[in-house]
Symmetry: C2
Subunit: 368 residues, 2 copies
């Protein structure tokens, strides 16, 4: 089957590029001697997860308990839920999950949260859950302040709580996407790594074992992997890449493994092609980099921007000489691939221009 | 079951408010003597569709062929696909759909598109498909210019094409959301209606029957219904409403039928509560009104804004004296409810505070 036989909009994944991306990140981690624990939120796919594990990933990172359940169903034996799990409904599911996942760990950023998890786990009995302290290395989202007394107290508390094993510290250094160039990026990555390594040292100085120092972002992965004291990287977007990674210099055109295939449905004016991929296929996410243009994606190869998007309409701004007709197909590079994947029930897998498979987005829509 | 027993994030619909919204819009159309053809993209739900039809709606509007297929499966007998259908894959599905939907119509904005539909329909035989000309009444998305020679030529062409029945003109007057106050809104609605009525007159003057003059937006519905010459309204958002409708004055707090129930998972600082509803539950859509704040929703009742959102984290900005603890639940009013509904597999239906049902979002993710 060729791409012409594919109805649009479709999320198309180039298998060769995906394989190369998976291999390159695995090689990066391997060369540096750090563990690779990819964030599966980008792909939400058992097939991609298996490729990552086969290439040497130690396990997966997920954002949601519901995602962890899907990957556990798919046989993944080492999972980190990088999210504070709060409330009796979540904790009952966590206990059930811990019974069937050989290596399960969670992130916490407060002693009270850890205490509730410990209470649930020890009431169930026979479970030891890995716990990592989530540290705010500069993004200002959540997490404990690096090297702080609160962090050391959290580590101590987890270490002492029944049913829990304190594994170390983790962060998502998303602030690195604000870097303007490679030098700023390297500096941002290095600063975040320093804070995390120092945080681990502070915990160790308090007499608590702290094995893991885990950094998480595609942009910083190549810097973090080689930073002394870092033990693990958790990049996610690298499998597919997107326009933000391109703009940021963390991927090149040839590393783009996913795009949204769309059809031109109207030419309302010479300067505009309306395509059947709007915000329901591309999301309303802007690029996650500094000074990003306020558009919704761009056509692969020529960079024509999707200047406006309503739910089902994308308005592509055309140059004067563009020969684009109703019925033509355009491949659009999304600004941010992760939430785009979450809009599709399946991805279409292409190898050398031919459709070879459809992979369910198995963990799509696992809200809880 | 109470809401406490519901895992979060959840999309919660208040049945009493929904019923009142459905009844009020039906009464508005009825009083004005116009047809009501609600846009089902907001709810994507057979249950809500049936409420609308039971209240007097003549049929439904949908944005996608895939949505039309879902509602046809659910027994809806009158459907308008308000989108240009382009390409052989879509047209084969359209023909199959036309065989089982008693009253099916489509929108076109180009003669070539109409010709291809006609060719597919007449090759199949035994089908008469309703066609409406989509007119750009000021939004600048797609559609033919109002009252233009191109519009009259399109109507004439459709009227002459085998298998097609020219029904009239339609528009989505989304530009009305740019109005700053009630007076500007009334003026924008009136201007769009005038253009559409005049467009129909131009078509009739050319000797082509043009029964339908159809306006589509929740903001303008109450003005458009009473505008002389308008025959149909196609509001969508009114069933649930959202923060954009509130800001725009098209709905009051008591008309909000849907919210995202979220749990506070972290208190990273006194000014911030991190909740488990981020862009994967609220979308990255900003309000669709003029001068909207750059946030991602607001807590019902008190208006605390979701100031930042990453995929799984919403950061609610709190006032100084807010007593909010980890584990507390907050009901968040989304900026734009339609794409939020598309993120959930089901909505939780609540009546007087108790969970009474779960309705599948049956047409969710029908990308094509």
């Amino acid at each position: 089957m060729t791409l012409d036989a594919l109805d649009t909009p479709a999320l198309v994944v180039d298998l060769d590029v995906l394989r190369a991306n998976v291999a390159a990140m695995a090689a990066c981690a391997d060369a540096a001697g750090v563990a690779l624990r990819p964030h599966a939120k980008t792909h939400k796919s058992l097939q991609v997860a298996r490729m990552q594990l086969a290439a040497g990933a130690v396990g997966l990172t997920v954002a949601k308990l519901g995602e962890a359940e899907v990957f556990a169903d798919g046989g993944v034996e080492d999972l980190l839920i990088a999210y504070p799990l709060v409330g009796p409904l979540k904790l009952a599911r966590l206990v059930a999950l811990a019974r069937r996942v050989p290596r399960l760990s969670v992130a916490v950023d407060a002693i009270a949260t850890a205490e509730e998890i410990s209470a649930a786990v020890s009431a169930a009995g026979g479970i030891e859950l890995g716990v990592r302290a989530e540290v705010d290395s500069g993004m200002g989202r959540l997490g404990v302040a690096p090297c702080s007394p609160e962090l050391v107290a959290l580590a101590r508390a987890v270490d002492a709580l029944p049913g829990l094993r304190f594994d170390g510290v983790m962060t998502h250094e998303g602030q690195a996407y604000q870097a303007r160039d490679e030098a700023e990026l390297a500096a941002a990555a290095s600063a975040a790594c320093e804070l995390m390594v120092a945080s681990a040292e502070a915990i160790r100085a308090a007499g608590v074992r702290c094995e893991v120092v885990s950094m998480g972002s595609t942009a910083t992965a190549r810097f973090a992997a080689g930073h002394p004291g870092v033990s693990e990287i958790r990049p996610g977007t690298y499998v597919f890449n997107d326009r933000s990674q391109l703009a940021h210099g963390s991927a090149r055109e040839g590393d783009l493994a996913a795009h949204v295939l769309a059809t031109v449905v109207s030419r309302p004016s010479p300067a505009i092609a309306c395509v059947d991929a709007g915000a329901k296929a591309l999301t309303s996410d802007r690029m996650i980099v500094r000074d990003a243009a306020a558009d919704f994606g761009a056509v692969a190869g020529n960079g024509w921007p999707v200047a406006r998007a309503s739910e089902e309409h994308g308005l592509v701004a055309l140059p004067e000489d563009a020969a684009v007709a109703v019925g033509d197909r355009l491949a659009i590079v999304p600004n941010h691939i992760c939430p785009v994947v979450n809009l599709f029930d399946a991805v279409t897998v292409v190898e050398r221009g031919r459709v070879v498979d459809h992979w369910p987005v198995a963990a799509r829509g696992r809200m809880t």
